[in-house]
């Protein structure tokens, strides 16, 4: 897509206080196809956790954009990511979600591969009257060009021309650390039992919503009422509190990533991390008071383009696979901290089911809103006014908070906060990095 077209689809002129996203970006199937090539098959994509591969020969399957992949640990503990397709007729090699096996045999004609992705058997090769070129050819599974991990989070890129994962994540790494370092052994895992659901809307509705504090008190008002009733009945565990003024803020990072956070003087519910005072004391001693304070603050992290990690009274890893401009498949996991107490784990699971799980009391309201947005985008009503909150704030407004974490965000914002309050800031400028990266990747793809 040429620059001129991209500039009409995403208008980004901060000098004129203008930021607008054309609804075609959410509804046009041609734009969707371009996104799949340029974004989901063009940059680092989150594929899973290394804790999903607990022993040699463990595997799990997933997708990178439109393409099925299998992630396997070989006999030496080396992890690789391969296209999940037999080299013979292109059959989906492994139809299972996860498991452990030394050899993957294609059901169609029996070609077989080891966990290092090497072809170890071509059925009846000797009698096949193959030409010499076949015998000399590589029959191994096709390796996904780039595959790296950070703190146990696995990312892969179908495009070889990407920087190191570390460079890609940049300062967003600090917010991954704030999750992983809650574990005394520095490990996170999926609590068993995943949830997959779809919504009839574009994937960027999820991208935006995961960074949107503004919607909470309206979209989730029925949930807010329930929380208030529960608080009257009593609470369990230590309730996080702070002396600092209540605020909501965000950091914008390079390459599309962003994070929202909130500072509450008094939380009305506990956290797995502070359910037990002695566990909290141990974390403070290990990571220091400042980082422990940040671990207790609600943080909604987006690693562009397909990962959100939300940490509050429970923690969620949310990832998605766009199916079309109008349909998205979501996979949601309860994120577990390895080494936490059984009570903290139980508290975490109940909190996850309550809020994050789609059959819970909140996520389905988001899904319904995405579908109403997608339906509303059919109206040709001109530029939407949904990227304006925080436009007048200074780009480095949350420098104090950035300094505490020793990070250099591209931009930051901070405003009035109040737990789920209608008068809170709820900035929208934290959507900008995603759309700037969207534009950069689509422009880069068209130049290829």
């Amino acid at each position: 897509m040429d620059v001129e077209r991209l500039n009409t689809l995403v208008e980004d002129r901060p000098e004129d206080d203008i930021f607008a996203v054309n609804s075609a970006v959410f509804t046009d199937e041609a734009i969707f196809a371009a996104e799949m090539a340029a974004i989901f098959e063009g940059t680092w994509i989150y594929v899973g956790l290394d804790s999903q591969l607990p022993e040699p020969h463990s595997f799990f399957t997933t997708y990178i954009g439109r393409q099925p992949v299998i992630v396997m640990k070989d006999g030496d503990g080396q992890v690789g990511c391969f296209l999940n397709t037999c080299r013979h007729r292109g059959t989906l090699l492994c139809p299972y979600k996860h498991g452990c096996q030394k050899i993957h045999v294609c059901r169609y004609h029996g070609w077989s591969y080891n966990t290092g992705g090497e072809n170890v058997f071509v059925t009846a090769e000797a009698t096949g009257q193959y030409a010499a070129s076949f015998t000399e050819a590589d029959h191994d599974l096709v390796k996904v060009p780039r595959f790296e991990s950070y703190r146990g989070l696995l990312f892969a890129s179908l495009n070889a021309d990407v920087p190191s994962l570390s460079e890609h994540l940049g300062d967003a790494k600090v917010f991954i650390d704030l999750v992983v370092d809650q574990s005394p052994v520095g490990k996170i895992e999926y609590v068993p039992g995943e949830t997959t659901y779809t919504f009839n809307g574009n994937w960027k509705l999820q991208f935006e919503n995961g960074l949107d504090f503004y919607h909470f008190s309206s979209t989730h008002s029925s949930y807010v009422d329930i929380l208030a009733e529960r608080a009257k009945r009593g609470t369990i565990g230590v309730l996080p509190s702070e002396d600092e003024p209540e605020a909501q803020g965000s950091f914008n990072f390079h390459r599309g990533h962003a994070v929202n956070w909130s500072i509450l003087s008094q939380s009305i519910f506990s956290r797995p991390l502070c359910l037990e005072q002695d566990a909290l004391d141990a974390v403070r001693a290990r990571v220091g008071a400042t980082r422990a304070k940040w671990m207790l603050r609600q943080r909604n992290l987006t690693i562009y383009p397909n990962l959100q990690i939300i940490d509050i009274n429970s923690a969620q890893i949310r990832t998605w696979r766009p199916l079309s401009a109008h349909k998205t498949e979501m996979t949601s996991h309860c994120l577990g901290i390895v080494g936490e107490s059984a009570a903290a784990r139980r508290f975490r699971i109940r909190g996850y089911e309550d809020f994050f799980n789609p059959p819970g009391l909140a996520s389905s309201d988001d899904n319904a809103m995405y579908e109403l947005c997608q339906a509303g985008y059919a109206a040709e009503a001109g530029p939407r006014q949904g990227y304006a909150r925080g436009m007048a704030s200074r780009p480095g407004a949350a420098q104090k908070q950035a300094d505490e974490l020793n990070i250099s965000p591209v931009e930051s914002a901070i405003g009035v906060g109040k737990a789920f309050g209608a008068k809170a800031f709820g900035g929208e400028t934290n959507f900008f990095p995603g759309y700037r990266e969207w534009k950069r990747l689509l422009q880069k793809e068209s130049a290829r």
């Binding site: 609590v191 039992g193 949830t195 949930y223 009733e229 089911e353 009391l361």
Partner: protein, 177 residues
């Protein structure tokens, strides 16, 4: 299995089967009619309401303390919260409320005693969303445990829902499964 429970036989078994069948079908009727208070009244105060998640293609979560469930409630109070959310007219998922039909079949009496009945059944739950005109069918298997105290009414003390098509649509709640 509890030693006080025994395999149904004769007229006692027929009575237990009728009780189970009546309560399971009544529950479906109250849900489809949106008689939320009447639905809640079928449950004991300490009722468990559980829809496990799938761990892989074959196995479902069986320990709510260490595994995620799709829905897990340990008291009627938690079901009341769900009903309050629907009644509040603040949840987007109920504006408008999907229409449902629970088509129940294959009710089997598994065990019974004087004060306890266990039964399984299967259901197609038709969910029609007037907002989107989408029609979705939840394919489920139920396990009901019914109990009563003295001559009191039979109440549901445990309902387990096994949802086989677990790639879910955007809205799944107590009335859509």
């Amino acid at each position: 299995m509890n030693a006080t429970l025994h395999v149904p036989d004769g007229t006692v078994g027929a009575f237990a089967r009728a009780v189970a069948s009546d309560l399971i079908l009544t529950e479906a009727h109250e849900l489809d009619s949106r008689n939320w208070a009447a639905w809640l009244a079928l449950y004991s105060v300490d009722a468990k309401f559980w829809m496990p998640a799938w761990l892989d293609e074959n196995a479902q979560s069986d320990d709510p303390n260490t595994q995620v469930s799709l829905i897990y409630h340990e008291s009627r109070l938690e079901l009341e919260e769900r009903v309050d959310r629907v009644n509040s007219l603040k949840s987007i998922t109920t504006m408008p409320l999907p229409r449902t039909i629970h088509v129940i079949g294959g009710i089997r009496l598994l065990a019974h005693s004087e004060d306890r009945i266990q039964a399984s059944s299967s259901a197609n739950v038709h969910v029609y969303d007037p907002r989107t005109s989408d029609h979705h069918i939840a394919a489920v298997r139920y396990s009901h445990t019914l109990s009563r105290t003295g001559d009191g009414p039979w109440l549901i003390t445990c309902k387990t829902i096994s949802l086989i098509n677990d790639r879910m649509p955007s809205v799944v709640d107590f009335y859509t499964v």
